[in-house]
């Protein structure tokens, strides 16, 4: 059964066909997935206040119903080191069509993974785990499983990645927290099952994993055409 808050977000995004990133993140945090501390700032002052509160560096991303792929529209600024850089980014973003604010977030570091879902015609809900980042479709280092995911499925998924060694601590880096990744995937699998009727696909890219946490740093939910 979907929570009321989730229904509201889906309903509000229906006409647009997809869910704006800040709302997608709200939705994921409602089911218990970790997202970066963020603020959806409509004005410069708001953005600055939040950045000062969490401390620099921060990430800023444009929010607009016109922009599904932010990177391709130069709509992401990472590693902003102070007020001046943030104001710069804010002003640049505010020129886009249908500007709906700026998402200011804490910077997270770790291994970039991608987690996704799609509703397949023949097989129903499918979960994807892959090596994330902007190059996902070049490397295509992914594994798929149908829902519901079980603990053992997660183990086979990680084993199935060519770059799986990156997760286990490669050349001196700390291994990622497998318990957190498993928790994220199992929670996500449950959510996707509940959302089957509403969605077409979901990309969580990147999901940033470290030795302590797995955080959904970007999220896109494409809704099913009514």
């Amino acid at each position: 059964m979907l929570k009321k808050g989730i229904r509201e977000i889906l309903f509000a995004s229906k006409d647009m066909g997809w869910v704006l990133e800040p709302q997608a993140k709200q939705l994921f945090s409602m089911v218990g997935l970790d997202v970066p501390r963020f603020s959806w700032a409509k004005a410069e002052a708001e953005a600055l206040r939040f950045a000062q509160e969490i401390g620099y560096p921060v990430v800023a991303k444009v929010v607009s119903p016109r922009i599904v792929h932010k990177s391709e529209s130069n709509g992401v600024a990472v590693g902003l080191e102070g007020d001046a850089e943030l104001v710069d980014a804010f002003r640049r973003f505010s020129k886009v069509e249908d500007f709906a604010g700026v998402l200011v977030e804490e910077m997270i570091s770790g291994v970039e993974l991608m987690v996704g879902a799609k509703i397949d015609y023949q097989f129903g809900p499918v979960i994807l785990l892959g090596i994330g980042g902007t190059g996902v479709e070049i490397y295509k280092d992914i594994t798929l499983r149908i829902t519901p995911l079980r603990q053992r499925d997660v183990e086979f998924m990680v084993k199935g990645l060519k770059a799986g060694r990156l997760l286990k601590g490669y050349r001196g880096s700390e291994p990622i927290n497998m318990g957190e990744l498993t928790k994220l995937l199992l929670t996500f699998s449950g959510l996707v099952t509940d959302l089957e009727e509403f969605i077409e696909s979901i990309d969580l890219n990147p999901v940033i994993c470290s030795s302590t946490a797995c955080v959904v740093a970007d999220a896109r939910i494409m809704l099913r055409e009514a």
Binding site: G116, F123, G124, E137, L144, I146, F156
Partner: protein, 455 residues
């Protein structure tokens, strides 16, 4: 739905035989069954008369016996009427050979036939199919018997959406000595579909391995199929077409773009231990291997050869299929050395692959195969047999098969497939050790057992 009367009927009617055209598909079906199969067969044509001295019945209800199976080979527009008559007459089920349904845009006609049958709980195969090959009971393929290559009776059931592909696989089965329990071409699968047949063959005592050629599943049907196949105690092998990406539909998410139809099928199959055959060669090898061994392996291969080159090629083939060829310990190597005959002891190499050289005799193969079958490090043994080496005899297959029965570790043989070596090949096959006709094929067989488990 009870499919038994479809597959093992005692009586069969062929509806739509021609009184003039001997080559009409219905006539081919009538003739071959009348002359060569056990079910009693009755010709039906609404004009009545006689065909080769046999009474032709004008209606299915005129047939003097209870009919288990009706083969319907009339024009598509006539099929609903004929099927209604079959249902009315209490026929057990039907095969609809006729084309002219969904494949030519007449989905409406097909839906009409399907709902008619569904309401009456009347099973039918097709339309637009070859139907059922179930020796010695019946054969509804409209192909003259003398043109078909017929595999031996055996334990593999083949189900195919395409009739042509099915017949082609039967030819390959015959060539490879793989026995068939039943073959079904389901065509447009308007009513009886893969799921029904999976259910039927899961419980069929004459079938040990179930193999499918699938072009596409309906909505969520693929999911139901792998879940059901995952619970089936018999190996289920699927060859699915559609690997190339579909049209140029704009895809707005990375997941949708990367999780294509085939990728999803492949992942779901491995998740539930359904054996995906990536091409028709694999399908044939997998059927052969799994009809001999219903078991899974980790994929640690021991290789016995009499030629260094064959050994090296086999190692390469294993590694490209993700199988490993573990190195044997010094201790194990020394133990093997003790077991072989003095003439090869000083010239053979005992690391894996074990190269017994062209001087090896049957006893050497047997001793090494027995040893490899007994150690933990190896869970499948490949035997690369070159029948032209002077010390080996045609007894080898039978002797090696005894080791499998004692130790339970699968053995796979490679023997060059030419007529001259038939007696070597039979020595293995008659004793249920699969034989490949290439090194790659032997490795495919091992791969079949590795894929035959959830992963």
């Amino acid at each position: 739905m009870n499919l038994k009367s479809l597959f093992r009927p005692k009586t069969m009617a062929v509806i739509g035989v021609s009184l003039q055209n001997e080559r009409h598909p219905a006539n081919v079906i009538f003739n071959k069954n009348n002359l060569r199969f056990q079910a009693e067969v009755f010709p039906v044509n609404d004009r009545g008369g006689t065909l080769q001295g046999e009474t032709v019945y004008a209606r299915i209800s005129d047939v003097p016996q209870e009919v288990d199976l009706a083969v319907i080979a009339v024009r598509a527009e006539m099929v609903p009427t004929i099927m209604a008559q079959c249902i009315e007459a209490g026929v057990g089920g039907a095969v609809v050979i006729s084309g002219g349904f969904a494949e030519t845009g007449r989905r409406d006609l097909q839906d009409r036939v399907a709902s008619l049958a569904r309401e009456a709980d009347f099973p039918f195969i097709g339309p637009n199919c070859l139907g059922i090959y179930s020796p010695p009971h019946i054969d509804t393929f409209f192909l003259p018997s003398e043109r078909m290559v017929r595999p031996d009776r055996g334990r593999v059931a083949l189900v195919s959406q395409s009739g042509g592909t099915l017949v082609d696989h039967m030819t390959k089965f015959a060539d490879q000595g793989i026995g068939l329990s039943l073959a079904v071409s389901i065509g447009n699968k308007a009513l009886v579909r893969e799921l029904d047949l999976l259910h039927y063959f899961t419980h069929d005592t004459e079938t040990d391995v179930i193999a499918f050629y699938v072009e596409g599943f309906d909505k969520n049907e693929g999911r139901e199929f792998v879940l059901k196949a995952g619970r089936c105690p018999k190996p289920v092998i699927v060859l699915k077409s559609g690997k190339s990406p579909g049209g140029s539909r704009a895809i707005s998410s990375h997941t949708a773009s990367m999780a294509g139809d085939y990728e999803v099928f492949s992942a779901a199959a491995s998740q539930y231990g359904v054996v995906e055959a990536r091409n028709e060669l694999e399908l044939v090898s997998f059927c052969e291997a799994l009809s001999c061994f219903n078991q899974s392996i980790r994929g640690e291969i021991g290789i016995i050869t009499v030629s260094g080159g064959h050994g090296a090629l086999a190692v390469d083939a294993c590694s490209s299929h993700g199988l490993s060829v573990p190195t044997l310990s010094q201790e194990h190597q020394a133990q093997i050395r003790e077991k072989v005959s003095p003439r090869v002891r000083n010239i053979a190499s005992f690391n894996n692959p074990i190269d017994l050289t062209g001087s090896a005799v049957d006893d050497d193969f047997v001793a090494v195969a027995k040893f490899l079958s007994s150690i933990e490090e190896v869970d499948c043994v490949l035997i690369l047999l070159l029948p032209y080496t002077p010390g080996v005899t045609s007894d080898l297959g039978a002797r090696l098969s005894q080791i499998y029965r004692q130790e339970g570790k699968p053995l796979i043989a490679y023997v060059p497939h030419v007529e001259k070596y038939g007696i070597f090949i039979e020595g293995f096959e008659l004793n249920r050790i699969p034989v490949a006709h290439s090194i790659e094929g032997a490795v495919h067989m091992a791969e079949a057992m590795r894929r035959c488990q959830p992963c």
